[in-house]
Subunit: 561 residues, 2 copies
């Protein structure tokens, strides 16, 4: 059980590569403007051994397929304006995260699993709000725990009225943990369920059915079996009709090319260098050669076009480092290329942002940089000669906890590159808002409107280290003499601190400003869940997660903390 | 160390009673409109044994005195419009929470300690914003960790410029925990410190001094020693001049009368009945006889006046139950009296809210009901015949996770009291906002404006169980036949759940709606800190808290979670 797993030297390596032809748990079908995602979990298809995925329960592998499907619907199916999510099983929509998997998983695995599933559910809401693809949960059976949380991430919920199918959040009464993939937050903050009813609901293992579920705002409609399919399709068509999404000719998300040799992983436009001694991963992003010549050319290039190819690679690098390299605690964010060329791409995207594909590329950048915000690693941006932190890449730097920018050149280099410059543009001024809706510059300067205005006024200019420091866009601007020592000391120092304290510190400093459903899920809800996942009442030998299904009740320490 | 403490059958009982004549760690002096609170900690005055309070470090006992002082300044000193907080030691303002105390404290003690200190610091900000008493931190020496967090809770910070005194948050680098009493949140959200500088600052054990502290917004001013006292007094006078606080003739907060016999504790207007078998504490609040005849009468009655006496008792009951009765996991909130009489008091207070004392009484209710919101116990309100949930008492019921209201009368009673009614008034419509600024009704109906409007429209009316249920003001309204069984089952069920999961669930469901500094401190920040406090990297035998001061460095598990 969990102790064993904690002690395993090497948990299974996770890959996020998949495509519909390889799905084992989901089916995707498209009928004009309406797509259907059908969950039909293969019991023997767990991503790790040791459990069966009964009753349409899921693990990380199931969710990796869902994430892939949601992404592909945005890029490969511009014609799709509504998505029905339903189940291929009888009387069971989804029983939530698999309990035996949770019981045997290490604390770190649980936390990382929850983060990824939360990001995928935020991504579903993002598809609705930013791409006009409305998700409709068609609950043709019981939706329990994470299953109902999946429904909560959809825009509308239709529940079959068959006298037995219910929606339920049984985590607290049965498992001693929270509905931690957004359930509690979305109940009260998104659906406006009255808090005392939410309390009753989240402590009632069997859940709520039929008209009561509608009266309590847990579902939007409940429909008899014979009318269920029609009612769902009617809602889907209405949602599709409301959508402003317009496009045709989806592009194919071709498999990523990624080669790992020793401690270096290379993609087409990005490489990751691990330094296990220092505990760092250096992510080097290569800039573009030139912007697409036209919109047609961008569409023709598809997944090969730099602005899409590189963000797919960055997203994959973030996910695989998070899942597979917990001991690389500091990520150094670096870039190589011509800032003017990035600016050209940036201008091209901004000019064509009404195009559906350009919009999808921009939204993908938004979600990927938000993944950085939610990553439990220390992030330092290194802005050196030869780098190209402009447009969306500047946001990568601004997502970091600190920015180091070399003032001047590396004088020892054979052919010293010219001093680094950064460029602020619309990508930092509104195109890629953080989860709270504020820009990263807004969060950075939340105490100083004048400094925010000054940074905005410098948009479009080449800002060298002195100006960038003067504008407060970088943390430190050492020169060639000090660069190596200062960085080395900062990295060594970071590696000497408690990883947990750093995670907690960063999760608090990165989210200044207002909060909303998304930030509350990653802050308030996830932090409480992480705490509970550490408590003996959940994860100990007599805890509820370990005792579940054994016939023995959990033996709780009754003291409230 | 902590393992031993965790295992102790009975941690020390905590009392919150004190008064200036008994202070061992603080001195309070008043000079016209300016009061001074001087921290001068008695090293041998720890509330529990086992550590010395060196370098003006604090424990719960020190903070109980601070809380008492802040309260008394509001009630006993209407003439005070600015408060200077400074140190009686040389070159050390305050070194923060005592590390040896933290190292030996149980997890529950640490969490409860942090909650109380956070509430006291929120109370300091509340004194500034709602009572016109501006707090000025006069840092005549180094303010480190919780010492600097105390300064952050003040409205202005003046730091002595003596070449050595610094402000610092050394928790992450030295202790492997967070600055958890608001530090991280107030840095970026209150003072607008740039997040990358906040990162540098919170990882620099020695802190920041002089002009750099001002440039980074960590302090408002830095002043040489010879001018320090004058600069502080100048700021205090300016703040006092700006204040609209006007009053004279403070009232004395006389000692609470409280007698415990067996499992029952009686105050003048309130009693607490513990049922250890069921794991419940029943808090019975007695209503008033009649409202004060006049403002003069209210002032003459002072601390004996019902609206003040009863909220002081409720506050004390909350604090002592929290600290001393962790196994009483469900609180049953009850009342006895005439709802019309409570409404009379309510109207009296509303009519006279411009009076300084009335304002203080209302603000005290606000803070006390917020303590309920932040209490890690399940709260059920029991609204029975003979109860008086009107005015501020209705807010006590609305702070509960559920409201049970008897429909009809107890037919078996010898002289059945008439059916219960509740009354909504201005106390629920704006006078007692939750920490986020929303009313409790606004949070309750955050998904349903029409329901909020309907509840507001019913203000002033006697609402019986049927109407209260129809308006969504109560969760369940069983009749006499079902009441006992339904309550018993609900209480038994609650006692069967994981206390940790309940704490996490309630902390998420109670705070729908927007967030701000205060809610983020009790949500995001505290939850992360609780998580860290459970992690071996902090609390384990090789963790930083336990190793601190031993000469051995902490031995961290380097994996990031």
């Amino acid at each position: 059980m969990s102790v064993t797993h904690e002690d395993q030297a090497a948990p299974p390596l996770v890959s996020f590569d998949t495509e519909p032809a390889r799905y084992r748990h989901w089916r995707m079908s498209v009928d004009g403007p309406v797509a259907t995602l059908t969950l039909d979990v293969a019991e023997d298809g767990g991503i790790t051994g040791g459990y069966e995925l009964k009753m349409n329960s899921y693990d990380l592998g199931v969710d990796i397929e869902l994430h892939d499907a949601v992404q592909r619907l945005r890029f490969e199916h511009p014609e799709v304006r509504a998505v029905v999510m339903t189940s291929g099983k009888d009387r069971m929509f989804c029983a939530g995260a698999n309990i035996r998997m949770l019981a045997q998983a290490s604390h770190a695995w649980k936390v990382n699993f929850c983060k990824f599933t939360n990001e995928t559910r935020s991504g579903i809401e993002d598809a609705t709000s930013c791409s006009g693809q409305t998700y409709i949960a068609a609950l043709n059976g019981t939706a329990a725990g994470g299953g109902y949380e999946l429904a909560l991430a959809c825009d509308e919920i239709v529940l079959i009225d068959d006298g037995s199918s219910a929606v339920a959040l049984p985590e607290v009464p049965l498992l001693g943990v929270l509905p931690g993939t957004g359930g509690l937050t979305r109940l009260v903050d998104k659906r406006g369920v009255r808090r005392d009813r939410a309390d009753v609901f989240a402590t009632t293992a069997e859940g709520v059915r039929g008209e009561k579920a509608v009266a309590w705002r847990l579902a939007d409609e409940t429909v008899k079996a014979r009318d269920f399919a029609d009612a769902v399709q009617r809602r889907a068509r209405l949602a599709a009709d409301r959508s402003a999404r317009a496009g045709a000719g989806g592009i194919r998300l071709t498999p990523l090319r990624r080669v790992t040799e020793g401690d270096v992983t290379r993609y087409d436009h990005l490489r990751v260098e691990a330094d296990r001694g220092a505990g760092t991963a250096t992510i080097v992003i290569a800039g573009p050669d030139e912007p697409p010549g036209s919109l047609d050319e961008l569409h023709a290039e598809g997944a090969a076009a730099w602005p899409l190819a590189v963000v797919r690679e960055l997203d994959d690098a973030i996910l695989t480092l998070r899942a597979n390299e917990p001991a690389l605690g500091t990520w150094l964010l670096s870039s190589e290329g011509d800032p003017a060329a990035v600016s050209e791409v940036s201008r091209f995207l901004l000019k064509n942002r009404e195009d559906w594909l350009v919009n999808e590329i921009i939204q993908f950048w938004k979600r990927t940089v938000r993944r950085l915000d939610a990553t439990s690693r220390s992030l330092f941006a290194l802005i050196e000669p030869g780098s190209c932190f402009a447009g969306p890449l500047l946001e990568v730097a601004l997502a970091a906890d600190r920015q180091y920018m070399l003032d001047g050149v590396f004088t020892d280099a054979d052919q010293p590159a010219p001093p680094a410059v950064i460029r602020v543009d619309e990508f930092s001024l509104g195109l890629l808002p953080t989860a709270s809706g504020m820009t990263r510059l807004g969060v950075r300067f939340c105490g100083a409107q004048a400094e925010l205005d000054a940074a905005a006024a410098a948009a479009g200019q080449d800002l060298d280290a002195a100006r960038a420091a003067g504008l407060g866009l970088v943390t430190e601007a050492p020169d060639d003499l000090d660069w190596d020592d200062e960085l080395r000391l900062a990295i060594e120092e970071r590696a000497s601190f408690s990883p947990d304290a750093l995670t907690g510190m960063e999760a608090n400093l990165r989210f200044a400003g207002p909060e909303n459903c998304e930030t509350k899920i990653f802050g308030r809800l996830s932090a409480w869940q992480n705490w509970i996942f550490q408590r003996p009442n959940a994860a100990g030998p007599e805890g509820a997660l370990r005792r579940y299904g054994t016939g023995q009740r959990a033996d709780y320490d009754r003291k409230r903390v």
